[in-house]
Amino acid sequence: MRETRGAIFATALVLAMAAGCGGSRDTAKAPAEETAGAPEGAVWKPAGDEGTVTGKVSFKGTAPKYRAISMDADTVCAAKHKSPVHPETVVVNGNGSLRNVFVYVKSGLEGKNFAVPDQPVELDQEGCIYKPHVLGMQARQNIKVVTSDDTTHNIHPLPKVNREWNVSQPPGADPIIRSFTRPEATIPVKCNQHPWMRAYIHVVSHPFYAVTGEDGTFKLEGLPPGDYEIEAVHEEYGASTQKVSLAAKGTASADFSFSPTQARRPSSLITLPALVLGCCGDR
């Protein structure tokens, strides 16, 4: 009896110490990060029975019209363009499909560990526009940021999970090579000097992703057979998922459709134009 009671009290003391000294505010997340940071197990190798998921992202409704970007803030940028440049927020292709949609396998690949490509993905800055506008990459893969402009940029990704950075890149500077270590749905990238510049980086844990282009289609190749959840993410219209079953050496299709009535970004988020307007309207 005494023994057990002793043990209980001792537990209390120890736990009391543990509870009382919980450490500083920002250390709470650390252990989870450590365990999730490096996937364990052998690297996945294709077995020869892989299949393909294809699909198309269509757009229904009227595309929003954007006013041309004013590049007043930097004459170097303005000089690079002969014709007006429009924001790439919503780009509807001629065939009624939606461009710049990031499509990837959201779930179904758990427990597999995919080799990180040696080749970096590339993000270019040309005419003070990010190219590409939407970019997919694998966690721990390198991203190479190059500049083709004669003005200084700064590359400022604003991740919520990964570590934030903000680095200056003057004209003719060496490429900036960095990486994101953890998968993260959408990382906006901005240049603080050219407020209209915006790119979106999607970091996933595997190589099965695509970005829709001029025909609005995508293709996820080399996918092992299985049941998957495929997600399409658009910066303005949010995400949409579909389930597919892929047989060995099979193909499956997943078509997505977005329309302007769909869930937008939260309305409280006033985008930059209003901000710029607001700041000048005041005074």
Partner: protein
Amino acid sequence: MATDNNHDAEPAGTAPDPIADRSLSGPLLIATILLFGSLLWALYDELFAERPWKRYQEQFVRTYSAFLEKLGPRQAAAEKTVRSSPAFQKIEAQLQSAEREASPRIREIEKELAGIRERLAILKNPFQDTRARIAVLTYELDHAGAGRAKDAIRAEIREVRKGPFRIEGLDSGGKRVALTFDEMEKQFGDLKSREAALNTELARITAPLRDLRRQRSEYLADNLAGLSPQQIEGLQRANRDSKIEIRQIHVEEAGLVDRCESCHLGIRQSVTLTAADMGNPVFVSHPNRTLLAIHDPTRFGCSPCHNGNGLATSSVQKAHGNYRHWLWPLFPKENVEAGCLQCHFGDRVLDYAPVLERGRDLFEGKGCIGCHRYEGFDRPTEQLNEVRKEAQSLETRQKEARLEAEQEVRKGDAAESNEEAQKHYARAESLRVTASSIDARLESLEQRAKYLMQDQKKVGPNLKDVRLKLRKEWIPVWLRDPQAFRPGTKMPKFRLAEEEVRALSAFIWQSGLDGPAPPRQAPGNAAAGKELFETRGCLACHSIGQPAVGGEFAANLSRLGEKAGYDYIVRWIHNPRERTRPYCPHEKRDLGPEDYAKHGQPFVFDLQNSRCPNDGHQLQVQNLTVMPSLRLSDQEARDVASYLLSLRTNASYADGVAWMDDPRMAERGRQLASRYGCGSCHEIRGLEDAPRIGTELTKEASKPMEQLDFGLLEHKAKDEGWYTHKGFFERKLRDPAIYDQGREKAPEERLRMPNIALTRDDVRALNTFLLGSVDSPFYGKFNSIPAQFRYIPSDRRKDIQEGWWLVKKYNCMGCHTVQIGQPSVLSGLPRYQDPDWKEQLPPTLVQEGARVNPDWLARFLANPAISQAETNRNGIRTYLKARMPTFSFSPNEIRVLVRFFQALADQPVLHLAEEMQPLNSQERLLARALFSSEGAPCLKCHLVGDANRDRFATAPNFLAARERLKPAWTARWMLEPQAISPGTAMPSGLFRQDGGRWVFAGPTPASFKEYKGDHVQLLVRYMFQLTAEEQRQLLQKLPTAPAKPAGAAAGMR
């Protein structure tokens, strides 16, 4: 057999001998068994039962050695990994090549040294013997008497020196060598100096090797997480050799003996032990090594923080102090931070005590301080009372002195002799001087009172304004159940009968001021108001909606439209400090225009006009609210008010409230308001000086249990095991009326403490705070904590302590990050997650003291607009939508805040700006060229004072740098802004290292080819010497941006 019988039969005739006949062996046996039994029992008790720690120690030694056994190979493998890392291998390779290079010579030297040492050993004895002999002879020579005797000794010395000394083994041949003393001395000396030379050379050659070896072991230590295999082996040895014995910490000067480690053996082990490792939570390591390192147990012991009976070893219960007569039971695990409070009494914010901090936040924020005095809280009110008392006594003294002076004069007039008259006059004179010198002291007290009145705040709103501000019918609704109307509000629920609600409503309504009413306002634009409300920073303190979005520091404004009047709210938003009438604490009433008119003065009262027109005393000219002015324009105030008043539900209110004008009810209400202490949190006419009605809580947990009134629940509490301070507080906080249960009490005798909306965590936090509120925290020869234990800093840490009270008082952390890692309320709002809004967050203040000049900071805190004319803006970051408000800090508070930021960044309080080396004209041209070059991004984001360019600005104007910033910080900021303010719009990597200097990373203008200086320093000097004229010149060099209407701004859709 027969003989025996005979023998037996013989004494049978006589009376039996009681001694011889009765055998005592039975009782003796029993006694022996008992004695032996009790001996065994005593031994058992002594060795086992009363020494439970022995078993703990045995168990610990067992499990710990098993644990180390497992850890050993793991750490060996880890060490192997480190050893195979490229960096380690590199050091290893360097070491090996260095060793290879040096080893032939080392071997040579060592060989030669060995030879020398051998020869020295052979020579040493004969040489030293002979030298000693000569020394003796020389001494004799000095003391010999006659010349002949001296000569004889001289001859002997010569003889001795001549030798010859036959020495074997000195040469390699093994032959004997014959030497004279002189030869011997020379050889010995030569060998010695050769040995020294070789040793020096050896040290020189091996120095780099030693260096590399040190590097190698340092690398190993730095990169091996945990202990090295050798260290583990050491621990294993120590564990094996450990004795079963009491382990105690004895702090003599505190009279403290703590034996906790007799069972908790893992607390200070150098390996981190978890309950899983050790199979028993008793043996874990202390969970916070940093904390333990600050509070070294050999100096502080255990019980000063954790409580318990550190001396007791006979049972867990006793050791933890959980028995009847021990006044300091171990703090329960969820309230463990209570232990911090005893020594850190003055610290509002502690690094490792978030629960305790939350407890204090609640004590202040929920208004507990309104009724319960607690030392350190609401200091302005207490200081104000002291100042007023002192002023009063001074005034009395002054009056007396004047009176006495008059009497002395009269005495002098009536005096018989001139001498006597002179004496009286002189005395009268000095009394008059004394009286007038009191004026100076009164004046300074008056000023202190003015500042303190400015600092004084009340928890709740000013109820003198109810008639101007509130809807009449709403008041009883609110009083019935404030939580129902506004969940989470700090207004608690008083357990009022309907009759009491009505009486209180009537009193509050009738005690309200009738005017002057705030001016009538035209309606505003609610949509614009919503935008302003959400972006100006209101949400740092206020929240909207359910579940609430925004800060919990101030009210949730969701239903404001149901209670408040428009004109009043407009005035409030415009300037919450603006009062309807100034209050004179001297006359104890609110002054009106008529008082001013009597003296021909306009009805104007503010911080500059704060004296009473009747008697010159300081008036309370502000509302006692912490809410600052956001310096909104009249139109903006109307917009925000329109938006807020649009927030309402469809609740309906009874119109029949004519009884609220019944004076009899008001009289009853006044009694109730005094009884419930309404005047502690609110300003109410007639209750301005109402005392706190609750018990003081500063040392509440030291109250003997008998003084805590459990009512009829005492037996239940004892049965259920919550007859403790914790049990009492916890239940009282959850249900303040609980100890009235079952008692027959008249309504006016019932417990008054209202029901406060508290979550479980809130109760825990408040309980932690209360449990730590003790007088004598631990036993020993002191009645209270020994002075050396208390944290009473007198240096910059004191400034930090004092500053936190203000930072909390005004909720600076709602907008700013003040502490590393502390998120502001704004930064957590959905709006600020957007990439564009992120840079709209107010600046971090973590390094504020290092960043800004304290003189500037003082000016800024007094007037964040910086300008007297243009107030509807931020002074520095004009581009921020969130507005740094005007808090109307008194000079006292500004001083505390400035010192706080200086101290937080380790800066001296007195800042003397270093003289900036002036730029010569060539340097100015260089800096100007760099600043305006295409590659340099500075002017794209920083304000330049040109409306067209400033449309895009997201950073302050360089013109402000000279007065505002510190040059050293500015240079650090330019090099690595992300390290100072993570996520800032200012990019890193603007400069690169080039030799010993920093140069701009981008293309530099041609003129820089010849420039050999540091670019960062050049730009800092330029910034700090920038003039408006120079800025104009700078702008002229920039390509002009075409001015376009704002509508065509970037990305407009």
